[in-house]
Chain length 283, copies 2
Amino acid sequence: MTFFAEAGQPRPDLVEQDVVSLPSRDQFRRRLRPVPNNDEGDRANLSLARKLQRFVLLSPDEIGAVLALPGTPKVFGPEHIVVHQGEQPNDVALIASGFAYRFKMLADGRRQIIAYILPGGLCEVGVAHHQTSDHFIALLCTSNVTMFAAEAIADIQKRHPRIATAFVQSKYRDEAILREWMLNIGQRNAVQRISHFFCEMSVRLGDLGLTNVDGSFELPINQAVLADTSGLTTVHVNRILQRLRKLGLIAFRQRRLQILDADRLAALAGFDGSYLRIRGPLS
Amino acid sequence: MTFFAEAGQPRPDLVEQDVVSLPSRDQFRRRLRPVPNNDEGDRANLSLARKLQRFVLLSPDEIGAVLALPGTPKVFGPEHIVVHQGEQPNDVALIASGFAYRFKMLADGRRQIIAYILPGGLCEVGVAHHQTSDHFIALLCTSNVTMFAAEAIADIQKRHPRIATAFVQSKYRDEAILREWMLNIGQRNAVQRISHFFCEMSVRLGDLGLTNVDGSFELPINQAVLADTSGLTTVHVNRILQRLRKLGLIAFRQRRLQILDADRLAALAGFDGSYLRIRGPLS
DNA sequence: CGCAAGTTTGACGCTGCTCAATCACTGTGG
DNA sequence: CCACAGTGATTGAGCAGCGTCAAACTTGCG
């Protein structure tokens, strides 16, 4: 289960000073899991707090500030377009639960998926700077999306420098992922591309506590989406998946992926997760 | 010569308030062009000022602040590695003149070029946050590189909010370019990839005043580099270039590219430069 | 039960890769 | 002034990875 070339390394880049007694990881999880339908705002923001927490260990005060961020919780179904290419969104959307993805389209309808936005991720498109979006953001499945005013996001970063640091580091990671994807699509073959994508998703979702012990997790995409992700055709993706199944590496059906042999899959993909800057178990 | 789908559009996203009498574009150019060898610091910073100027119209004060940034000018030859993968740079490098590029490598030596850094561009890798670099940055040709302390860059942004805005917008554009490259490599065929790359370079360099009226410009890359840029092999790149030449679209020799028919080239590539957010002639 | 969406299969061919040789250009030293 | 080497460009033959098209099958769901 080592997705990292050099596991157990020190992580000097993590900002850990000023940590006041935090809720433990388990407490955090317990509060996160079951989501009944009252007091939604707070609960939606938890995914954001949790995400930021992965980059900078936040104090209770800071966590409180994140939870108090005033947002409008909404629920949208799959295929919902969160941000339209060419438009200039007024709000920042938080994917509180569910999955979103960025993509660009060609005139003839071919499209390339640029990134996946997981729970706790923001659909930021230079909102604070009045930029029009150069790409689409859509949902993969029914998701809880919380809308924040751009000013609110800017404001909390001004008031809490360490939260700002977490935002910046999160952004750095997104960029690193983008770069790895360029390498993936530009240089690796079909088998490696798909395996690599699976490895990455497994690590990222695992970091969010969204994987099971058996190595399985929800991945609400079909083969067409996977094709647009990896720059291949649906037909070819199908054949590659069959090969991976025959090799005993994965099981993938009903929008749920199970990685059966993480080590062999990672080796096959040439996957080294260090670009994801995931730290080990919460100390 | 229209590289833009909808030329002449208003640019509401440009921050133009608070502009105090600026040096005209021509004055600016005149000061920029000939670079004798004294007072280097100031002159090196000019490329940065000019770059920022493309995003936010800076006041003389602000331009002065950029020019006064304390940096160490250096000259490196081609192939010089500015930032090494896995290392944690202490400084931010400014490409004052010349060309740099980012790339990632696979274990077997295959590599993917991720981005080109043109004059005025910064080699930022999350320096301020003590991140290790996940990729290499190298030079394409002998270049003037000025090294700044990360704090100096952070400081000037704190003191001059509009300069900070320019930095952020520059970063947004770099990201937009990355996304367009993903689309390019993932979805377009060889001819389109290469044409698209040429169009982009022409527009970006034109914006910096580094193209000639005849549509030619320095592009210090060989076919192997172009292959690593476009995710193709050298042999195939060679054949595509021949095709483009036979079509009368380009001339490319001696590290100099001339675009002979920009309209046809852009049409062939499916190029729409709006993602570059280049504004029209300086008003 | 029947539709719709998604998956699987087969046949076929093109785009782009591999290997390997040859050619052009440029700078160097005798 | 020329032989030489080194780098980069070009060419050819052969092939395989992946795309295209079209049909059949499977699954989820009302």
